[in-house]
C-alpha cells in the first residue's frame, strides 16, 4: 500500500551532512590545534550561531518577529550568576537550570505578548526585555545597576587548571550549539516541523488545514526562550562579568543576531551558519575601526535585505537547489512502488 514515500536527503544534503560531521570533529579537536584566542573566538562564534538559529526558528518559521530576545540572554546570565554566587551551584550545572527557569518565565510572558500582533508584538517584546533589565538593576546583591564579577573561587572550582577550564567551557559551548541546531533539525523533521513550515509559508492556509497555530507558536516561543537563556548563561560564564546593560543589550543580542540571520537567510536552517561566518569575517576585517564597523554592519544588513531578501543561502538554495541538512520533503513514488511491489 505504501506507494508514496517521503525522502528528505538530496545529493547536496548528503555532501552537506558529511561536511558538517567532518567540521564537528575538527572543531571538537580545536584544543589540540588551536591557541587560547582561537578557542575564545570559536566559542563566541558558536554563541552567535546558536542565538541566530533560535531567532530564526522563532521569526523565520513561527513568524514571531521578536526584537526582545536579549530578555532571555540576560535572564539566563543572571540566573547563572545568582545560582553560582548565592546558592553554590556548579557553573555548568547552572546552565540547564537557567534554561528551565527562562522557559517557565516565558509562558506567562508569551500569554501577555500574544495579545499583540505583528509590529506591536515585536516592540512589546523589547519592552519586556527592558522590564527585565530594570528589575535586574534592582538586585543589589548582584551589584544593582553596575553589575558584578564572578568570584575567582567559583571560577577556579570548575577545573584544576586554567587551560583545563578553558577546554571545558569550549567543549560545552560546542556541545550547546550542536544541541541547539540539532534540536531545531529534529523539530523541523517532526510533525511540528511540517506545521511550522506551513505557518512560515502561509499562516492562514496552515490554520485552515488544521494546524493549531497559536499552540505551535507558544511551544516555539518557550523552546526559544530556554535555548537563548542557556546560551546567555554560557556567554556570561566566559565574560565573568555581568551588568544589566551588557546582559540585556539590544544591539549585541538582538540587532546583530537579526542582521546575521537576514544576511544568511531567514527561514532556512543553514542561514544562521552562513550569516555568522560573514559577520565574523567582517568583524575580523573591520575590528580596528570601532563604531565605524557597527555602522558598516548596519549598511550591509540594509543592503542585504533590499538586494537579497532571502539571504545568501536563500539565493543559493533557489538557484542551485542546495540544502546542507536533509530537511526537504520530496515525494518519491516511482522507485518506492517498485520496492513495495517486491514485498
Amino acid at each position: 500500500m505504501s506507494a508514496v514515500h517521503i525522502e528528505h536527503a538530496t545529493p547536496s544534503s548528503r555532501i552537506g551532512t558529511a561536511i558538517l560531521i567532518a567540521l564537528g570533529i575538527v572543531l571538537a579537536l580545536a584544543p589540540v590545534w588551536g591557541g587560547r584566542d582561537d578557542l575564545r573566538l570559536l566559542a563566541e562564534i558558536y554563541s552567535y550561531v546558536a542565538l541566530a538559529s533560535l531567532w530564526n526558528l522563532l521569526a523565520g518559521y513561527a513568524g514571531l518577529v521578536s526584537v526582545g530576545q536579549q530578555a532571555y540572554v540576560g535572564v539566563g546570565a543572571y540566573v547563572l550568576f545568582a545560582l553560582t554566587m548565592l546558592a553554590g551551584v556548579h557553573p555548568l550545572a547552572a546552565v540547564p537550570i537557567a534554561g528551565v527557569f527562562a522557559a517557565t518565565l516565558s509562558v506567562p510572558t508569551a500569554l501577555l505578548l500574544f495579545r499583540l500582533r505583528g509590529h506591536y508584538f515585536a516592540i512589546a517584546t523589547w519592552v519586556v526585555a527592558e522590564v527585565f533589565r530594570l528589575l535586574a538593576a534592582q538586585i543589589s546583591i548582584l551589584g544593582g545597576g553596575s553589575g558584578t564579577s564572578l568570584p575567582a573561587a567559583i571560577v577556579t572550582s570548575m577545573a584544576g587548571s586554567r587551560t583545563l577550564r578553558e577546554f571545558e567551557i569550549y567543549w560545552v559551548s560546542l556541545a550547546l550549539v550542536i544541541l541547539v541546531v540539532g534540536a531545531i533539525f529534529v523539530l523541523l523533521r517532526s510533525r511540528y516541523g511540517l506545521a511550522l513550515t506551513a505557518i512560515r509559508d502561509n499562516e492562514l492556509a496552515a490554520r485552515s488545514n488544521g494546524v493549531d497555530v497559536t499552540r505551535t507558536k507558544l511551544v516555539i516561543y518557550v523552546i526559544t526562550a530556554c535555548g537563548t537563556a542557556m546560551v546567555g548563561a554560557l556567554i556570561f560564564l566566559q565574560k565573568l562579568r555581568i551588568s544589566p546593560d551588557t546582559a540585556f543589550s539590544v544591539n549585541d543580542w538582538t540587532a546583530f543576531v537579526i542582521f546575521i540571520t537576514v544576511i544568511g537567510g531567514v527561514g532556512r536552517i543553514e542561514g544562521p551558519l552562513i550569516g555568522t561566518l560573514v559577520f565574523f569575517i567582517l568583524r575580523q576585517m573591520l575590528a580596528d575601526y570601532g563604531s565605524v564597523y557597527l555602522l558598516m554592519l548596519g549598511v550591509i544588513a540594509i543592503a542585504a535585505m533590499l538586494q537579497a531578501p532571502k539571504g545568501l543561502w536563500g539565493f543559493a538554495a533557489n538557484r542551485f537547489g542546495w540544502q546542507l541538512l536533509p530537511l526537504e520533503r520530496r515525494v518519491a513514488p516511482f522507485e518506492i512502488s517498485k520496492t513495495s511491489s517486491e514485498n
Partner: protein
C-alpha cells in the same frame, strides 16, 4: 498637595512623550510602518539643534525653525530612497531596515560627537515657574512643552481631516491600490507622511535636548516611550497618543516618587497592564 504636584509633573512630561508618539502614530496610520529608528532620529534632531544653536547663537527653542525643515527633508529622502522599498505584507524588511538605520545613526553620532552627555541651554526660562496655589507651582518650560504637544496634535489632526494631503494620507491608508488608481502617487504620499513625522520628531528632539541631558545611546528608550504611548492611546488615534503619553508620564512620576529606580519600570508596567487588560488601547481607530 505633594501628590498633586507629582501628578501635574507627570502630565506635563506626558506631553513630551506624546510628541515622541505622534510621529510614530502618523506613519503607522498611513503606511503600517513601525520605525525602529524613530528614537535615534529624535536624538539626531537634538544634535542638529545643538549645531544650530552653537553656530548661530540663538535660543534652542528658536532652532526648531531650522531643524524641523531639515528633518522633514531627511524624512522625505529616506522614505523615497529606502523605506518605500521595504513596504509590503512582510513585516521583517521594514523592521530590519529601520533597525539598521538605528545602528547607523547611533554609531554615526558616536563617531561625530563622542559619547559625552550634551544639553541645550535655553536661558532663564529653564527654571521659571508659575505659582498656581499655595505649594503648587508649574514649570514654565514643561508647560510650554505640553502646550506645544497639544498644538502639534491639533495641527496634525487638522492636516489629516481638513486638507487635500490629509485626504491623500487617509485614502492610501484605507486602500493603497484604489488610492493609486485615483491618481495618487503612493511613493510621494508616503514620503510626505514621513517628512511630516520627522518634522514632529524635530520638535520633540529640541524639547528633549532642553529638558534633559542627551547622548547618542538614548534613542531606543525614547522609541519605547513613544511606542507605548501609541498603544496605550489606541492604534491610529492622534488624541489617543496624548492620553497615552500622559498615562505614561504620570505612571513614571508616581514610580519615581516611590523609588527613583522605579521611574522607568512603573511606566513599562503601566503599559503592560494596559496590554493585558485592553490590548487595542484606550481609543482604538484602526486595526493593527
Amino acid at each position: 498637595m505633594h501628590w498633586l504636584n507629582i501628578i501635574i509633573q507627570g502630565v506635563l512630561t506626558g506631553g513630551l512623550y506624546a510628541l515622541f508618539a505622534a510621529g510614530l502614530s502618523l506613519i503607522f496610520g498611513v503606511m503600517r510602518l513601525v520605525n525602529i529608528a524613530h528614537g535615534d532620529l529624535i536624538v539626531l534632531a537634538a544634535y542638529l539643534a545643538l549645531i544650530v544653536t552653537t553656530t548661530l547663537g540663538i535660543n534652542p527653542l528658536l532652532s526648531i525653525i531650522i531643524v524641523a525643515p531639515v528633518m522633514a527633508a531627511i524624512g522625505y529622502a529616506l522614505q523615497r530612497t529606502l523605506l518605500n522599498r521595504t513596504l509590503g505584507d512582510d513585516l521583517l524588511p521594514p523592521l530590519l531596515v529601520t533597525f539598521g538605520l538605528s545602528v547607523i545613526i547611533q554609531n554615526g553620532l558616536l563617531e561625530l560627537f563622542t559619547a559625552d552627555s550634551r544639553r541645550l541651554q535655553a536661558g532663564p526660562i529653564e527654571v521659571d515657574s508659575i505659582h498656581v496655589a499655595a505649594g503648587l507651582a508649574v514649570g514654565t518650560l514643561p508647560l510650554i512643552q505640553f502646550t506645544v504637544a497639544v498644538i502639534v496634535i491639533a495641527g496634525l489632526q487638522a492636516i489629516f481631516y481638513r486638507t487635500a494631503i490629509g485626504r491623500a494620507f487617509r485614502a492610501t491608508s484605507d486602500d493603497r491600490a484604489v488610492a493609486q488608481l485615483m491618481g495618487l502617487d503612493n511613493r510621494h504620499v508616503y514620503a510626505l507622511a514621513m517628512a511630516l513625522s520627522l518634522a514632529v520628531v524635530a520638535i520633540a528632539g529640541v524639547f528633549l535636548a532642553v529638558r534633559a541631558n542627551f547622548d547618542p545611546s538614548i534613542g531606543p528608550a525614547r522609541l519605547l516611550f513613544g511606542f507605548e504611548a501609541v498603544i496605550i492611546g489606541g492604534l491610529g488615534s492622534l488624541w489617543g497618543t496624548l492620553v497615552g503619553g500622559v498615562v505614561l508620564g504620570v505612571a513614571q512620576a508616581i514610580g519615581a516618587e516611590i523609588d527613583p529606580g522605579w521611574q522607568l519600570l512603573a511606566g513599562h508596567i503601566a503599559f503592560l497592564v494596559i496590554v493585558a487588560v485592553r490590548p487595542e488601547g484606550l481609543f482604538p481607530k484602526v486595526q493593527g
